[in-house]
């Protein structure tokens, strides 16, 4: 198992080329991303690890198309997204990326089914197909019986599973999980991590952003970030030996 097993096509799914993200804080210049280049291929399971303030959130935002870099190129699935407008980015996020957030980020007043349907609504999928696909996605995480529930009627682990169902529903090329276990206890964390692993084994590309080394080591490949720079990029075994 490892990076080597992933069949590396000519074109990576994620191709970050010399990415800079510079914030101006008064007179100070903060380089949240200081010349990062990174390639991630289809089918990989990568964790991006770093302490708070290391620039990993900036990485997450840029990889997730929530933000654009100050300079550098970002080719996602063959498309240059580094200079896209707000609405174009929204479309890319909708079609290409499935987000799993630390705080689940479910809409509290909508049922589980409605929550999972959301990305499909924005993709313009018709009502009937939408509901079928959302239901199938809920089934995948084992919550199809609870489709009528509201998020707060579920436990944290269940809510995180709903958000995974939501991430999966649009068949995205990339599942991007931002501290997916940050709000969960160790047992439910295990469940969620196992689930993400399973998704990867089914062929999905999974990227986890975390500050937690032990969680980072669940992935097959680890990228460590410090001060906006990549300080390690390699197989998880290599990383384990390194720590």
């Amino acid at each position: 198992m490892g990076v080597s097993e992933v069949r590396r096509e000519a074109q990576p799914l994620i191709d970050l080329r010399d990415i800079y993200k510079i914030y101006q804080m008064g007179d100070m210049e903060v380089r949240a991303s200081d010349g990062i280049s990174l390639k991630i291929w289809k089918g990989e399971f990568v964790s991006i690890v770093g302490k708070s303030g290391s620039g990993k959130s900036t990485m997450m935002n840029i990889i997730g198309c929530l933000d654009v870099p100050t300079s550098g190129e970002y080719i996602l699935d063959g498309e240059d997204v580094s200079e896209m407008e707000d609405d174009e980015l929204a479309e890319i996020r909708n079609k290409t990326i499935g987000f799993v957030f630390q705080q689940y980020n479910l809409l509290p007043r909508q049922t589980l089914l409605e929550n999972v349907e959301l990305p499909l609504i924005y993709a313009g999928v018709g009502r009937k197909e939408r509901q079928e696909r959302a239901m199938a996605s809920l089934e995948k995480v084992g919550l199809q019986d609870k489709w009528k529930y509201l998020p707060q009627q579920l436990s944290g682990g269940q809510q995180q599973r709903v958000s995974i169902a939501r991430a999966l529903v649009g068949n995205p090329s990339l599942i991007l999980a931002d501290e997916p276990t940050g709000a969960l206890d160790s047992r439910t964390s295990r469940d969620v991590l196992d689930f993400l692993k399973q998704l990867n084994e089914e062929g999905n590309t999974v990227v986890i952003i975390t500050h937690d080394t032990s969680i980072a080591m669940e992935a097959k490949r680890v990228v460590r970030i410090r001060d906006g720079k990549i300080t390690f990029d390699g197989d998880v075994k290599e990383y384990a030996a390194n720590v």
Partner: protein, 388 residues
């Protein structure tokens, strides 16, 4: 679109009290517009109706006779004859008030008007019994009179008044006719009246000058009739200040102008309340956008474009104000119906006011909802997700 509509419904239902309070401004504003417009137009109709009862083909002439220059009824009748196609009828009118007595019963509010035999048509009077005044009554200054239904009811109480004698300011007059009820036979109404020959009335009023005449003119040529009368009178008086010629339709126009101005004023005030309500909606929507920053962030991260968010918030504001508008229409219609029946005015809720105020209220929601919606649409998804 349907999806957006459902979403907006859900969001409004989620905070009922707040939505209702926000709507209250619109409800009151719309209700006020409907009540004011309906009542004012009912009032205007009432006034114009009472004018057209009198006939819009009337021309009133009032003169100030001086020692050297004056007109007599005979002069006026000559004018009538000289312009026979244009001027159709004439009656001098001598207005007087006084005591009307029969035995122990007396009336003091009754208007006593000296007129000619032509006044039956001019005043659009209808006889109930007996006859109206005749030319010979006038020439021979007969002490006869025709009484209104209120006077008949008060002084005769079921007895036949014809041929009976009543005293007008102490002078005995014989009743020769009674008039049909015109208003409601109340004191001071147009049924509280007595008509007598103008020649006799000048004696009763102790003023031999007749200063007021009423013509009926060809209704197609009112303006011409008026100017003819003016020039005839100028020939006599050589001074425009000594006479005035007024057509009833002119007075009607004046009344309509005044009530129109009042309506505009009242509607303006109501419109200000709608404006304030709109600002209230904007305010609440701004709060709502702030509160729901996270929701907006989630939606945007999942691929909602700016236009989708914009539509959602505008829809919410528009629905809020439209529902408020509908409630306002219901309230306004009920209030109008209640108020008009209390006042005794025939004022149905104005359809025009309903349509306009609904459109305005819906428009206000959309207009004032736009700014907060724009703000929501432009939120940066990262900042929005980070907010708690």
């Amino acid at each position: 679109m349907l999806q957006t509509f459902r979403l907006a419904m859900k969001s409004l239902a989620g905070s009922k009290l707040r939505s209702f309070l926000t709507m209250l401004g619109i409800i009151i504003g719309v209700a006020a517009v409907i009540v004011l417009v309906s009542l004012m137009s009912g009032m205007t109709n009432y006034i114009t109706d009472s004018f057209s009862d009198l006939g819009t083909d009337q021309i009133s002439v009032s003169v100030t006779n001086t020692g050297t220059r004056s007109v007599t009824p005979d002069d006026m009748y000559e004018i009538l004859e000289d312009n026979s196609g244009l001027l159709l009828e004439l009656s001098p009118t001598v207005q007087t008030r006084g005591m009307v007595k029969r035995g122990a019963d007396s009336l003091s509010t009754t208007s006593m008007t000296g007129v000619s035999e032509g006044y039956l048509d001019i005043g659009a009077l209808e006889l109930s019994t007996g006859r109206f005044l005749t030319y010979s009554d006038i020439v021979s200054e007969q002490k006869v009179c025709v009484i209104g239904s209120y006077v008949a009811q008060e002084l005769f109480d079921g007895e036949d008044p014809l041929g009976q004698t009543i005293k007008l300011n102490g002078q005995p007059y014989t009743v020769v006719g009674t008039l049909a009820e015109k208003a409601d036979s109340e004191e001071g109404s147009s049924d509280d009246c007595i008509y007598l020959p103008y020649s006799s009335a000048t004696k009763l009023a102790m003023n031999s000058d007749i200063t007021s005449y009423t013509f009926i003119a060809n209704s197609e040529q009112m303006d011409l009739a008026k100017s003819v009368l003016e020039s005839e009178l100028y020939a006599v008086f050589l001074n425009e200040d000594l006479y005035t010629v007024t057509t009833l339709s002119e007075m009607l126009e004046m009344v309509e102008t005044i009530t129109g101005m009042m309506t505009a004023l009242l509607v303006g005030i109501a419109a200000i309340s709608l404006l304030v309500a709109g600002i209230g909606i904007m305010n609440i929507q701004l709060v709502s956008v702030t509160e729901r920053t996270r929701e907006i962030g989630i939606r945007k991260s999942l691929g909602a474009k700016q236009s989708v968010i914009l539509r959602q918030f505008i829809m919410e504001a528009g629905m809020q104000s439209s529902i408020g508008g509908i409630l306002g229409i219901i309230l306004g219609s009920v209030l109008t119906t209640v108020a008009s029946s209390l006042i005794g005015l025939d004022a149905p809720p104005s359809v025009q006011a309903i349509i306009v105020s609904f459109l305005v209220s819906a428009g206000i929601g959309i207009l004032f909802g736009y700014m907060p919606a724009k703000r929501a649409a432009r939120l940066n998804p990262i900042d929005a997700l980070r907010s708690e």
